[in-house]
Symmetry: C2
Subunit: 307 residues, 2 copies
Amino acid sequence: MSSPVLAIDIGGTKMAAALVEPGGRVAAYERIVTPQSPHVDADGLWRTLLALIDKLPAARLAGVGVGCGGPMTWPSGDVSPLNMPAWRDFPLRDRLRDLFPGLPVRVHNDAVAVAAGEHWRGAGRGRQNVLGMVVSTGVGGGLILGGRLIDGASGNAGHIGHVIVDPEGPECECGGRGCLEAIARGPGLSAWAREQGWTGETGKELADDAARDHPIAVRAMNRAGWALGVAIASATHLCDLEVVAVGGGLSQAGPLLFGPLEETFRAHARMEFAREVRVVPAALGQTAGLVGAAAFVFGGDRYWTAD
Amino acid sequence: MSSPVLAIDIGGTKMAAALVEPGGRVAAYERIVTPQSPHVDADGLWRTLLALIDKLPAARLAGVGVGCGGPMTWPSGDVSPLNMPAWRDFPLRDRLRDLFPGLPVRVHNDAVAVAAGEHWRGAGRGRQNVLGMVVSTGVGGGLILGGRLIDGASGNAGHIGHVIVDPEGPECECGGRGCLEAIARGPGLSAWAREQGWTGETGKELADDAARDHPIAVRAMNRAGWALGVAIASATHLCDLEVVAVGGGLSQAGPLLFGPLEETFRAHARMEFAREVRVVPAALGQTAGLVGAAAFVFGGDRYWTAD
């Protein structure tokens, strides 16, 4: 086969690595639980990543693409993932360049990788204007406009989680108020449900309880769907989108989430040009970030505009 | 001099035409009051435009650029300006192509032209990620990201006026609710002020009264500034902007508007990457749309991505 890309997806709970073929197929895949602080330091995390890469079959590579939890400097790729305190300004891109001299090495936000993957080979395939979203512990995203990944001034374009849906709403961890993420992130949603008398813990349990018609859990899904619908309507009007692909753990709730989302979206996205927009579940599941990381290399300047 | 562009700015109250030099200087300028329906039909409006163009000195042209009130089909340039009922699906681009055979003729939304002008030669000059806005009878805008004009699926990207700032807020003419435009457009703002007991008519009078410390007028400016601040914070987080240039009649209110705007913007735009963003008055005033219309031709694929 033509040379694959070594694709890496780094998050607070797991690290995954894969060989991805030029057509987007994931040809080999390995994953590992992310070692947790304080049991690991920066170099310990790096050695864990090296061991993970070593499990993949040897191959002549076309390059290395990485999606990593933010924040990070971009395009220099010094990463400080919120949920991985052992890495603060860790020079991930430089380390990988030393490891793979002469190869393109491209590091971007993990939600941006998911959006690139969904555009290249998933729910946004063939469209030019796509918002890809991850609704999970946080709410992240990436923007493809005019067929190209939008980076913004500092690689941070796509932060749909901090579009404001209720200016008088709950405080957000960013320091603002009423951001989409403050309402629709898993932990925020289950905290809200517990305030209403629900007795579970995780966003996953909440989605399961909603599927069993638990009234508070259903209201929580309505609330998340409402917030998503408002934010996606704003993004649609501002960016004239064609497809919004929603992935991440909470999107597993299916129609319980997408029903109220669609209802609110249609009520607010009333400009004529917004009529044709489709809001759909992401198509690639767990591998979206790896496929997108490969797209940073295979996609030329469509998905990577920096040096 | 090198060949200028014939730049045209078409709105419901006036039409303007100019010769704009390759450096952006407006070398000749003519304007006329837009004839109002029902005293004029589609061809009458067209003849008015022809007479306006005829007043400019003869020149060998590099092309024709037009900013026109929306909506329109893009890039085909059939226009149906909201405030010019005589033109419905009027083939403005085709008519101009017939008039200037062999020349590039490029027609886009008037607020997009303002944004392009502010990016090319105004408050956003030298930046890569800019939102240009017009706050007037409506609230419009245009997006430049990665140094290029963003068109979206149908040429409608930049509709900041329909970003939602208060989902339970006033009904918007688009059919939605709580859009920025529903709150901050001049007529919406003066309607709100009259409900509070203010006795004036226009947005201009309202701004003048606010400058004289009329308490309701001051509260109206606070309200507009608040709504603008929320919407601009959402746009900044989604698009990772560097500069937001705010023009149009209401922006003439100066610190009365920009003060509360900045305060709300800073309260909501709390992501670290948003700290450096500057929200500033537009720099080009009345000629921004003409300069931007010229940029559609002079700017190559930076401001015109269609055929």
